[in-house]
Amino acid sequence: MPAIGAALDNGKTEEPYWKRIFSGFEKSQEWMRDTKPDVAIIVYNDHASTFSVEMIPTFALGCAAEFPPADEGWGPRPVPVVQGHPALASHIAQSVILDEFDLTICNKMEVDHGMTVPMNLLFGKVEKHGHWPCPVIPLAVNVVMYPPPTGHRCFMLGRAIRKAVESYPDDLKVVIFGTGGLSHQISGPRAGLINSKWDKNFLDNLSGNPQKLVRIPHIDYMREAGAEGIEMVMWLIMRGALDEKVDEVYRFYTVPASNTAVGHIILTNRGRGGGRKSAAKAAAKSKRPAGKLKRAAARARVERIRG
């Protein structure tokens, strides 16, 4: 991700190596433009920017009005300040805490490449003095220090978030991004590990059989997908926010992006009897998945992409 961010920020997206990666996101950007979400909930992990080793919250929800890009040591990325949605965020916080998920609330928080690079990949390039297309609610998950939350816990939190969004008084179209790696290891003598079979299998099940994924123990992620591949549990929050049955709108996977595999998948809820409140959609990306959870309908738009 940092390498993808640097390629974006330094105008290298047309170079053949990077074009192979960025062109995989063109369809998804089109889908996102057509979908026009009112809010994006972005599940991501902080990379030693806002949270160091002083405090390590397992789930931290950004309830602030805005989230400045963090200075990760090279100056902040040249992207706009991310606008929050404090009203929906605090509604979600109250709802999921009463549903027994003990979130940390962040009323002040900077966001690093772990969030802003996936935003660029799905929203496209946005000038520093421009505007992101919609407000964002960041949900930072600890996947840096072992143990991260279990896949099952993540999936159930996704469900609780969906319940919270559905009980919000305004009818909003909400997308939810799961982000983070597919297989990759960037630390120690085994660095460079990629397991494409695992990734493909994970994406197949994410789409069609998520219950198969929720009980994968951490040791299996770390052994098969790399020490840092355990970030994949974040995709399950996105998946939990969607219907059991979803449509896979789009999928892209390639190796390598610098040191990792990169891919993404877009999932949408199937309409509920054609009603307007057709519910969730998911867009998932690797090295960030995006998921989407929604209340108002965007089905017509989704179909256009499918066709």
Binding site: V53, P147, G188, D247
Partner: protein, 167 residues
């Protein structure tokens, strides 16, 4: 005090940054965090050993940092997202660090990544647990893979039909 043993100690070439290492390596990681500020980077570069005294490091930790022994830093509680900041302070790309940690040249490491990365085969276990995870076995082998293929071939024509219908 000896480290508690864990199932993940069996993964080769891997130092899992767990709660124990997080405590043990607090100084290493806070030192690395300090390098996000330019003044601190300059102070560190001006006198590395002196600068490191501020962080309550053990002698082994200090040595590992001074020698840029990245694997040893991880073993002693450093985390890669933090130690990468030291690499950046030295002006190195991440691939340079990855090559160092894997005992490879940067060129060979880059070539390995372009070729699809390090294979999982032979890299799962120190103790011979080489069978793929039963939770997500390798595709193309065993029951689950067959199931997945089926699920997939079922899915795609379905969505095509559906979009065709709606047109």
């Amino acid at each position: 005090m000896a480290r508690e043993r864990h199932d993940y100690d069996d993964i080769p070439g891997t130092f899992v940054f767990d709660a124990e290492r997080s405590r043990q390596g607090y100084g290493i990681n806070m030192f690395c965090m300090s390098l996000m500020k330019d003044d601190n980077r300059k102070a560190f570069k001006a006198n590395e050993a002196e600068y490191l005294k501020k962080f309550g490091l053990t002698r082994e930790q200090t040595d590992a940092i001074l020698k840029r022994d990245y694997n040893r830093m991880l073993e002693l509680g450093g985390n890669i997202y933090f130690t990468a900041k030291l690499g950046a302070t030295d002006g190195h790309s991440f691939q340079h660090l990855a090559a160092l940690m894997t005992g490879s040249t940067q060129q060979d490491y880059a070539a390995m990544m372009l070729g699809g990365g390090r294979s999982i085969e032979g890299n799962r276990s120190r103790s011979g647990k080489n069978a793929p995870s039963k939770h997500l076995g390798a595709a193309g082998r065993g029951k689950s893979a067959a199931g997945n293929r089926k699920a997939k071939s079922k899915r795609s024509p379905q969505s095509k039909t559906r979009s065709a219908k709606r047109k």
